[in-house]
Symmetry: C2
Subunit: 398 residues, 2 copies
């Protein structure tokens, strides 16, 4: 088939799943079917719209109940959550932090905010996230232990943390990753920004490392406008997370004592009010999205050279973004695949459906091009071949 024929088929299949696009179908629009408005009004009536208020507490309890994490700390966005979690994990100036090359730029930025340097790892075709086995081999080659601490023997920097990202809401193989990192004593901070609602072998993502972080940005499965959360099993880390994200102020009715350089990262109560409404619909949203994934897979199965991405068996995924892989011919060059991908995006946009490719690999960005990395063959392949489909939680709502 020609590029144009494939693009036409693509549009036809989208129509069969989503119906005619009356107006532009966005990639992931927020959906407010519950009590969001009532909670916002109540929040305004209370006048507590800012950094203190009962909706923040309630939202944190709802996150804890849903994920099973004993401690959730709500913050201003997912980037802030990851930054604070890295600081809490002991990442500091001059350290190195391992993260996938294939992720949103915020993952690497949070590392930079710590004064640390990203070290890019390859992806796993099975999960789209960090490949634990190949990372293990890479670490074997570059790590040198000094006084019980893992150092990169090439850069002389300490490797202070590994940040797996559960890309598009599919879980990394955490047991393998824990084994690899455990043998060097490297703490894991999970970037679960995309995976609220995703369980790895029955345990919620973000609960498998030392700390995990969520995002409630407008394009996530639930939204608080802007927002994020830190998850941890450890009461003392939770206490420190709360302290660090509220300007490190010591509790007192009117004294201004702060004992470290803290952050103004607390989630405002008005955003938490929105989040409380959204949490009441989360189960329904996950169901909608899993149902949508099934329909996409059935429909795209007919088109030759397209492969619908399906969750690995150990991941019960939220299918935050549905994705297809362009697998036309084995002899295809990546640049011809990218051309086809862009053609499809253009045709779908013309027909009213918003698609997008995955992120540019982070080491191709100017500020990260000199960072250490392992071989990135799989990530490069995925970057060219992945296409994300409209996946909003309201798309198949009754």
């Amino acid at each position: 088939m020609s590029e144009a024929e494939i693009a036409r088929d693509f549009v036809r299949v989208l129509k069969s799943v989503l119906g005619d696009a009356q107006t532009q179908v966005p990639l992931h629009a927020p959906f407010f079917p519950g009590k969001e408005k009532a909670y916002l009004q109540d929040c305004l009536d209370s006048t507590f719209v800012s950094s203190v208020g009962q909706y923040v507490d309630r939202f944190e309890r709802l996150i804890e109940e849903y994920t099973g994490a004993p401690h959730a700390v709500a913050v201003v966005n997912g980037t802030a959550a990851l930054h604070a979690a890295l600081v809490l994990a002991g990442v500091g100036p001059g350290d190195e932090v391992i993260l996938p090359a294939l992720t949103f730029v915020a993952t690497a930025n949070a590392v930079s905010y710590c004064g640390s340097v990203p070290h890019f790892a390859d992806s796993d075709r099975l999960t789209l996230g960090l490949d634990p086995l190949r990372l293990g081999k890479h670490l074997e080659a570059v790590v040198e232990m000094r006084d019980g601490q893992p150092f990169n023997s090439e850069t002389q920097r300490r490797i202070a943390a590994v940040v797996p990202v559960h890309v598009f809401g599919h879980s990394v193989d955490m047991d393998l990753l824990l084994e690899v990192c455990g043998s060097y004593g490297i703490p894991i901070v999970e970037d679960a920004a995309e995976s609220l609602g995703t369980f790895y072998k029955g345990r919620h993502t973000g609960r498998l490392g030392l700390l995990g972080t969520l995002s409630f940005n407008g394009n996530k499965i639930i939204t608080t406008g802007g927002g994020g959360a830190i998850l941890t099993e450890d009461a003392e880390l939770a206490r420190r997370a709360r302290h660090l994200t509220t300007t490190a102020k010591l509790p007192h009715a009117w004294k201004y004592e702060h004992d470290q350089v803290g952050f103004n990262y607390r989630m405002p109560n008005i955003n938490a009010a929105l989040g409380c409404g959204q949490m009441e619909s989360l189960e329904q949203f996950v169901n909608n999205k899993r149902r949508l994934a099934e329909r996409y897979c059935r429909a795209f199965g007919e088109i030759e050279g397209l492969e619908c991405y399906v969750e690995p068996e150990f991941s019960e995924s939220n299918y935050w973004l549905n994705a297809v892989l362009l697998n036309r011919a084995s002899g295809d060059t990546l640049s011809s695949v990218r051309a086809l991908r862009n053609k499809i995006i253009g045709s779908c946009a013309d027909a009213g459906y918003m698609l997008r490719p995955v992120w540019n690999l982070l080491p191709t960005l100017p500020m990260y091009q000199d960072c250490p990395r392992m071989n990135l063959d799989c990530a490069q392949n995925l970057e060219a071949r992945l296409l994300c489909l409209p996946s909003g939680p309201g798309l198949l709502a009754d």
Copy 2:
């Protein structure tokens, strides 16, 4: 008079101005007399609650109209605004930034986030903010010019910026400060977190330096839950501010190209919707607060040893927080003044009125105790003697 008598008088005067405290009168509660609820509902109906949306644009235009600043960039809070503004002013790792010792900790934290070191300056009894004349003398003593750049000859660090804070909404004497800083080529970034509604010689605060920053935290004259803004006269700085605070993403419908380490600092649309409602009441809030200041001054004038703080002639102030100075006897020690201050705070709290002292001087905090500083006599005096009074914009509302 004894401490107990003064405290009793204090309570009596508060009652005469504010009426009996039915419930606790907070220091500064938000007030929503306008269209806030309608705008929040409309924002939800649009589904654009996050980092893109028309309320963000509208809020920025309202800020521009009110302040006269050609460019306002709305961000997630005042700390983020100051951090980004410092980066835009060229502050970087290893630099030194001059700021008052008497300010909220966020001013110094924003400097720390840049990898820079705070250098603490004394306050002016007239404005409660940075004292330009004494700063000028201090700079004369410590600055050494190298290749046209000002260095601290004692620490060998470049002095990259001066951050005046318009404390409690009263303007620093900016003409004097501009003259002092101008002679060394040091850029000024105004921390106008407390002074939305305050004009210096007819020009809105935050518009006198290279960049200025506002805060819309819950305790500010208007609130967006959490929020802030960057003001500048310079179109190119405004463009860079927008870019830097939105992950430095290059504009494109679906490509993920970012050209520097950016921040996730954009204000969500839902918070901006609240801000649009608040901006419509800002003039009324300023009037209410100036009226309250007059009443406090008249009432506290009767008590010997108390001095109501009044705006300097060049500042038309928003009186964000009303303050009195405890000036009992010239022979008083600062520790006896602090004891009296704490006694008054306690008695007022018992009677239902929330007061607070000013912030601990920043160089007394553990993370800033080794930072360079000038003589801080005036700031130390103010720290002991200042008491802030309930000042919410709704207190004298009809």
